[in-house]
Amino acid sequence: MKISKHQLGIVFFILIGVVPFFGALLYAVLYSFGIVGILNEGFTFLFWKSVFHSGDFVKSLGYSMSIALVSVILSVGGALWLAINFTRNFQSRFFSFIIYLPLAIPGIVTAFFTFQLLSKGGLFSRIFHRLGWIESASGFPDLVNDTYAIGIVLAFITLVLPFFLLLFLSVYKNENIEQLSSLAKSLGANSTQVIRRIIVPILLKKTWIVIVLYFIFLLGSYEVPLILGQEHPQMLSVLIIREIKQYDLTKISEGYAIAVMYTIMVSLAALILFLPKKKISHET
């Protein structure tokens, strides 16, 4: 009796956790080869060839990776700096609550807000104008929908830095870093050494998987680049959805081809990150 209940759980797991993913992947594969789709005429490599030929995927991947990498590095750096310098302060009643507040703001609102602040007609531009630094709105630098994706990176940092900060603070507490640091100090280490040799390595070692996960999340992020990005190049999700929803109905399959490549890529990343290790991990 007990075993069949477990089996039921596993069946449920397979039905809602596994089947949809592989079903979606299968559908995208079939579509990309022209096997399904009302205007497609049967198996063909045409769409894959054209995707490779145009280089869209590679360009978009490179673009997305650079943005995600820069954003994650800056966020982790900022969060580490805050966590190390202000550990005590964040334990106060007031701060221990307000540092959670940024979690209440979703990507779409962050993007909207960033646009309102940084566009040429935005709040900062108006302040610059009032201060006499620029003569007209067009004099304000390009910070949204811009070539260097500055708007996207800033929005990403706003979104993930608070999360990393909370993460580091909690590891700081759970790993007794404070005690370790004072121990090191009593053994003669100076504060730079403590930060470099103890605090940062422990924090990063305990959280690197989460950091990599966030990198992958940002890679596939949709709303923020949709609002703050430019028309070309575009981040992966934006590119895929644009291709799938495009005017030329005969080319929808190209979008699915890119979706297949993206899905396989992140799945490989998941495999590498979470593949069961030979070594049995600790259990408590």
């Binding site: 075993i3 069949s4 089996q7 039921l8 069946v11 039905l15 399904v36 789709g37 009302i38 205007l39 145009s54 566009s119 040429k120 007609g121 007209s136 709105a137 067009s138 390009d142 929908n145 811009d146 070539t147 430019q230 028309e231 070309h232 799938i244 929803k245 495009q246 005017y247 030329d248 109905l249 080319k251 929808i252």
Partner: protein, 414 residues
């Protein structure tokens, strides 16, 4: 434990769930015939059928004045008059076509959407996949007010409309400029090239329907005349003219907004840029569409509309009923109301949606003629007839579809 027994249970469960899923998909096939018989019924029957139903309307929701008209006039009116619950979903062009395609592929005969707001290229694509239901327009009582002899109404992107879609508004594309910033705005490609050199960064092309419509004007000019794109799609002509167009844009785009490295995604963005004073030239449907923007203070009072020498597109937009709509009677009732004198009058207010009525004023009862004639016109924008001599009809839909694709490939990604 007995392993084979477990495997068996497992299999049963999977079959159970698979059956569940398949059952779910096949139970939605409900007598589409009854719906199709509607075309043979009289209006009383249709009106009775539509009473108290829900109609799903998918439309482009990118304009506050249009949304305001729909939300605060149309929805309450059809509820009051016919007890119809009109629900709006956002979506246009390709999204509508893809929805219908998906539903066809999945064999869904009761679709999600009843009626759609479309123009020629969507009409073309929906026809291609047999996604439209009809001909229904001649069944609508209010269709008597529409002049189907008008070539701008009976022909949509060079295709005969044949009562498969109902005209809703008519308008002309026009250019807009700020008189306080520039004295004589460019009105042909040669002038535009020297204009952008004089005022770099103040002109751009939106990568959407509006921007593509501007490109069609350019294309017609390169073709050597107002009507150079008329007739069925001619690939050779397109390739020739479009390569000239891309060459023209690419050799001038370093003087465009953001040095031509990127183009705005939507017309609403162009409007914002014009409002901020970044752009000096704007353009839009509905004879430029500046009335409400000037009145609300978004655009400066010095904003004016001007014609393009070789002419701009004049077109009609339409309402269609989808072939798998579950409530065709309701959709007909709503569409009939949308072309009624009162709804068209409300829609034409210069203070509101400011869209030209598609009904022929001369065919209306006298009291409505008076209302239309005595309505206060636009204060800042021109009337449709002022631009009469600068109008040409939409070219075949393939031009639009190709322009979209090529503008991205040959300009944006270049």
């Amino acid at each position: 434990m007995d392993k084979s027994l477990n495997t068996l249970k497992y299999t049963y469960l999977l079959i159970f769930f698979a059956g569940f899923i398949i059952a779910g998909s096949s139970c939605s096939n409900e007598s589409p015939d009854i719906q199709n018989q509607l075309l043979g019924k009289d209006w009383e029957y249709i009106a009775e059928e539509s009473e108290g139903t829900t109609v799903n309307f998918m439309m482009w929701q990118g304009s506050p004045v249009i949304n305001n008209y729909i939300n605060n006039y149309l929805i309450p009116e059809v509820r009051k008059r016919f007890n119809i619950d009109l629900r709006i979903s956002g979506g246009q062009g390709a999204e509508i076509v893809q929805l219908v395609m998906g539903e066809k592929q999945a064999g869904i005969s009761n679709g999600e959407i009843d009626m759609v707001w479309i123009n020629g290229e969507t009409f073309f694509q929906l026809r291609k996949i047999k996604g439209l239901w009809g001909p229904f327009v001649d069944k609508l009582p209010n269709a008597q007010y529409i002049d189907f002899e008008d070539q701008y109404i009976n022909t949509d992107f060079q295709q005969p409309v044949n009562y498969m879609e109902c005209p809703w508004s008519i308008g002309q594309f026009a250019m807009v400029y700020d008189t306080s910033k520039i004295v004589s705005p460019p009105s042909n490609l040669r002038e535009l090239a020297s204009y952008v050199r004089k005022y770099p960064g103040t002109f751009t092309i939106s990568n959407d329907f509006t921007g593509m419509t501007l490109l069609k004007s350019f294309l017609a000019e390169l073709g050597g005349g107002t009507n150079s794109l008329n007739g069925p799609f001619n690939a050779e002509k397109y390739n020739d003219l479009s390569s000239q167009l891309w060459h023209y844009i690419n050799s001038n785009k370093q003087y465009f907004w953001k040095k031509g490295t990127t183009f705005p995604k939507e017309q609403s963005k162009v409007s914002q840029l014009f409002a901020n004073g970044e752009l000096y030239i704007d353009y839009g449907f509905g004879e430029g569409g500046i009335e409400e923007k000037v009145k609300s203070g978004l655009y400066p009072k010095s904003t004016r509309v001007y014609p393009w020498d070789n002419g701009t597109i004049k077109n009609t937009n339409y309402l269609g009923i989808l072939s798998n709509s579950p409530n065709k009677a309701g959709a007909m009732q709503v569409i009939n109301f949308m072309i009624s004198p009162e709804a068209q009058f409300e829609k034409s207010h210069a203070d509101g949606m400011d869209a030209n009525p598609v009904i022929d004023i001369n065919r209306l009862p006298v009291e409505w003629q008076d209302s239309f004639n005595s309505a206060s016109g636009r204060k800042y924008g021109p009337a449709l007839r002022d631009l009469e001599n600068y109008a040409f009809p939409e070219p075949a839909p393939e031009y639009m579809i190709r322009l979209y694709d090529d503008f991205r490939k040959k300009v944006i990604e270049n």
